[in-house]
Symmetry: C2
Subunit: 348 residues, 2 copies
């Protein structure tokens, strides 16, 4: 997972094909060479043990996809993080949860609303998930601190961002839960925030957007929630208030208008049973390839425009396992790009 | 029409059955007696001629259901007013229109929004209809005064209510159009406002609610618009603002969220072709009754709870024309109550 160039989807493919991480690691150099590139620089066992020791020293725990307390709803994402680092009350993980997200520069009224909504959702036994950012996120965590709240951060578990949220993050480690995908010590960068947002949306039965400008990160979270088949909810505002436009547009596009906790509870009721439904996260690839080598065919079918993997399989005429293997080889060679919605393209 | 106890539905039934108002008037006393009551006090020809003269003197015109400029969409209502008194620019009557309604005690922001929306709808060649009340109504008329606006009032055409709107009503008589269902000189009473609201909703391709408390008159207009099959639109607001709750609830119940004129234009586009579609407002009852008398049966089927006329017809086993005649007799005898949705009950 810490190898550059191996993302969550590639990781999942490798484990599905080779069964264990040891076998996958052993296979990577060969796969990459066949894909026409050089092998990515693998992290050593020492690197991994150092990180494990560091996480332990920080008082944090590991959550592994497909095991133990790993959130069931999150495991449904194609690009679910294989590992999460968690600090705080792990009991919060198997309860139904709702994400509350919104603008960092939200109005005082919106923050007050988010805090009240989070508090009221807590009274309905719901866990409130947010991103420990300024504004709406902070207000949501504060409102649910007494009943259960999970902060998902873009950087490492021991990094406080924004700095003024240090106390809040520490409070969540004590009385709530903080989750990080990146290794300890990671300073969050712009590209980390969409990864963080997929975890927020993926863990939650639904996402409530409180105040959001058009094209803001909160709308990305809402889109990710919709793509994951979860409930998207938005709090309306006056059309005269530019900060309400993102939410109003979401409602026009089909999001559920919510005015209070009762509206949210009603909207996410259908998801209640899914929170604890078991599911095999790594479906092993059992198909026999019989020496079928699809690499040349797949490479020819790919170009710079993203196409669905299903279409490559169909056009290639090869068994889907063979196509997946060819894609894995190109991927590990650094020549494949994976896009949202299961699409792939060849890197220029 | 000016006879107490003869409402728009009864009027329509009488004309459909007897062809002309003269024949209907001649039949009323007998029908009422058969229904088990005494005949309503009919207005004299002199009364009618006095009112006609008064309307003419006020510089107003008559619009008669099924004739000339009478608004096509309004004629579709089961309880369309048989007569309207109109003062102003009659050319506005055959153009597509949108109603803008809302709270009398609306916020300054809502009034500003209503004025801007009305102005922008005017730029799209739409006529803006409202009720010449305080607040949102007044703002909507002001915004559309240059492009075309119709005020529907609850009292007589020469009565100014609220008094501070006298100048505005006069301006609409000059540059827009004012419509009244009640005879000149009528001071508006509480019961007149829902009648006024059905005209606003009935003339319009859609109704936009700008700011409305739960259970307010604006929501009645929205319900009437929905019942007439027209587009219901609402402008959202913060859940923290009590004046936004009616609109937000409308949106939750399926109204289209609108933020600007473009949203409204898009929503009402399907109605554009209906504005000028001709339709026979009085479908004559051609059915031969062959002496079938359903009065006793119909009376037995009726009770104090409203039931659909269709159900009475089905249960009675009588021809629908015979049932309608029986209902008309009970109605003119003052023993029938007509309810929304074509339901009827017997008065206690």
């Amino acid at each position: 997972m810490r190898t550059p160039g191996i993302g969550p989807v590639t990781y999942r493919q490798l484990i599905a094909r080779f069964g264990t991480s040891a076998a996958a690691l052993a296979a990577v150099p060969d796969l990459a060479r066949r894909g026409g590139g050089k092998a990515p620089p693998l992290r050593s066992r020492d690197d991994a043990e150092r990180e494990i020791a560091r996480v332990e020293k920080l008082g944090a725990k590991w959550l592994a996809l497909g095991q133990g307390l790993y959130p069931r709803l999150l495991a449904e994402l194609e690009d679910a993080p294989p590992l999460l680092i968690a600090k705080g009350d792990l009991n919060l993980l198997d309860r139904q949860s709702v994400a509350i997200v919104g603008a960092r520069n939200a109005s005082a009224a919106a923050c007050r609303f988010a805090r009240g909504l989070a508090h009221d959702l807590g009274q309905h036994d719901l866990i409130v998930i947010s991103g420990l950012a300024r504004g709406v996120d902070s207000a949501a965590h504060d409102g649910a601190l007494g009943t259960g709240t999970i902060g998902v951060i873009a950087g490492g578990i021991d990094v406080f961002y924004p700095p003024e949220n240090e106390e809040r993050q520490k409070a969540l480690c004590e009385r709530g839960l903080v989750l990080a995908e990146m290794p300890p010590g990671t300073e969050p960068r712009a590209r980390h925030f969409p990864y963080r947002n997929r975890i927020i949306a993926g863990m939650s039965s639904g996402t409530v957007v409180v105040e959001a400008a058009p094209r803001s990160g909160s709308l990305i979270t809402a889109r990710l929630a919709a793509e994951a088949g979860r409930e998207v909810m938005a709090v309306p505002g006056s059309p005269l208030d530019p900060r309400a436009q993102g939410c109003n547009q979401l409602i026009r596009d089909g999001a559920t208008l919510v005015q209070n906790a009762a509206d949210v509870v009603e909207a996410i009721r259908p998801f209640a049973s899914q929170v604890r439904s078991p599911r095999a996260p790594f479906e092993p690839i059992l198909e026999q390839l019989n020496g079928h080598d699809a690499l040349a065919t797949v490479e020819e079918l790919l170009g710079p425009s993203p196409v669905p993997v299903d279409e490559i399989i169909r056009l290639s005429g090869a068994p889907s396992g063979a196509v997946q293997l060819a894609l894995l080889e190109l991927d590990l060679a650094g020549r494949l790009e994976r896009h949202a919605g299961g699409k792939v393209s060849l890197r220029e």
